[in-house]
Symmetry: C2
Subunit: 238 residues, 2 copies
């Protein structure tokens, strides 16, 4: 099913464009993504609904494909120089049985940080990413872009930390005196690594649930960027 | 010297605004920065030329200070919700004698990555950051913002990797078969850690200069974000 679209006012283009808003993403349980690499990863996980590309893309024939003008592509893309493909993906409801390695994100507000943390969790073979209700939407285009396709490969759910108490060690990053150097801890078999908001760190209610508070020893400056801290910790704790 | 400015067309405001362009930054050897924390770090390093703030800021009286309207502040700020202070800083010419720990950035194009890498280099007590000619300008406002004031505290220069051959071990990140797991290397006393472009990695000419090619073992995905890779490597190699 290949159609040619040259008008920005085409109904399919207007529908795809509407997914730039969180409200519409929620209604339709779909979101926009782009780049060929992300498309590949999304295809491999059966998450592609419809493709908009400037040249024919190799994809299963049952997935509607639209050949679009540069102008239409630019309208749908969130990049200044789009790669040539934008696609609609469907949200996936994950049920992860018995995850061992979990990343919990508490009130992460920057989409670049969020996407990068999801990408890094996939790279260190985490089983699950859980985000608090007040995190930036994982379907925000900037999150999708900076996840570099990881969003299609690692389960990400919205959830509560308390669901993992008793079964998992809760390792919470916190710049407190109580916190221990992360290099000195033993890696538990089942754990949740908790990272917090860019300005305020992990919230007090969440810190209370910690089995261990951990810290990365640094000099000269108060803190690391949260995605960098996450990378350093996940490289060791996985 | 405190002046009150309410017009966006005031000469000092227009001059400060002109520093948003690289061309003007080069001519005047000055750049724009913001947030109270950055101001503190810039003051401590005698780099503040002039302050624009919505309320009086505690700073040496010889530094011109302008009390400005919200409207003026918003014009000068690059943030959607500015903190209340923007300032002009002067570029510093660094002469770093005998640096041991150097971060070399080859063609880094994303300002967020650049700023974060500078912040992380400061946190792990590096002596010097050297950027290749084709990196994004370190005085780009997004670089300054994401460095979180580190730009005022760690020497950053534009330079060439070949200047460190013979004196320093050259550790180059490269996704090649020749590359060794970074966990297995001994930390040299004098080294340059080299990170490369977001899409293309370190350039071929630079890889040729490597003493050792290193890699971070990951799974499921081709690569890490360059700032994350930098964080993981600097945490170990410093």
């Amino acid at each position: 099913m290949i159609k040619v679209i040259t008008s920005k006012n085409n109904e399919r283009v207007k529908f795809a464009y509407s997914l730039k808003e969180n409200k519409n993403r929620k209604i339709h349980q779909m979101f926009l993504a782009e780049t060929f690499k992300s498309l590949q990863m999304a295809l491999a996980n059966n998450m592609v609904v419809e493709i908009f590309a400037t040249e024919y893309v190799d994809a299963p024939s049952e997935i509607p494909q639209n050949l679009v003008s540069e102008e239409v592509l630019k309208k749908l893309s969130s990049n200044v120089n789009p790669e040539g493909v934008v696609f609609i993906a469907k949200m996936k409801q994950y049920e992860v049985s018995n995850p061992n390695k979990i990343l919990y994100l508490d009130n992460i507000s920057d989409p670049g940080n969020m996407g990068t943390l999801i990408r890094t969790a996939l790279a260190f073979d985490y089983d699950l990413v859980v985000t608090s209700e007040n995190c930036v939407s994982i379907y925000n285009e900037k999150v999708i872009n900076s996840s570099k396709g990881a969003i299609f490969q690692i389960p990400v759910i919205t959830g509560q930390l308390k669901d993992y108490i008793g079964t998992h060690q809760i390792l919470v990053t916190n710049l407190s005196k109580k916190a221990v150097d992360f290099n000195s801890i033993e890696i538990p078999e089942k754990f949740v690594l908790v990272l917090g908001n860019e300005s305020h760190g992990v919230s007090k209610e969440i810190i209370k649930l910690a089995t261990t508070e951990i810290i990365i020893p640094i000099k000269n400056i108060d803190s690391l960027n949260v995605a960098i801290a996450g990378g350093i910790l996940m490289n060791k704790i996985h």
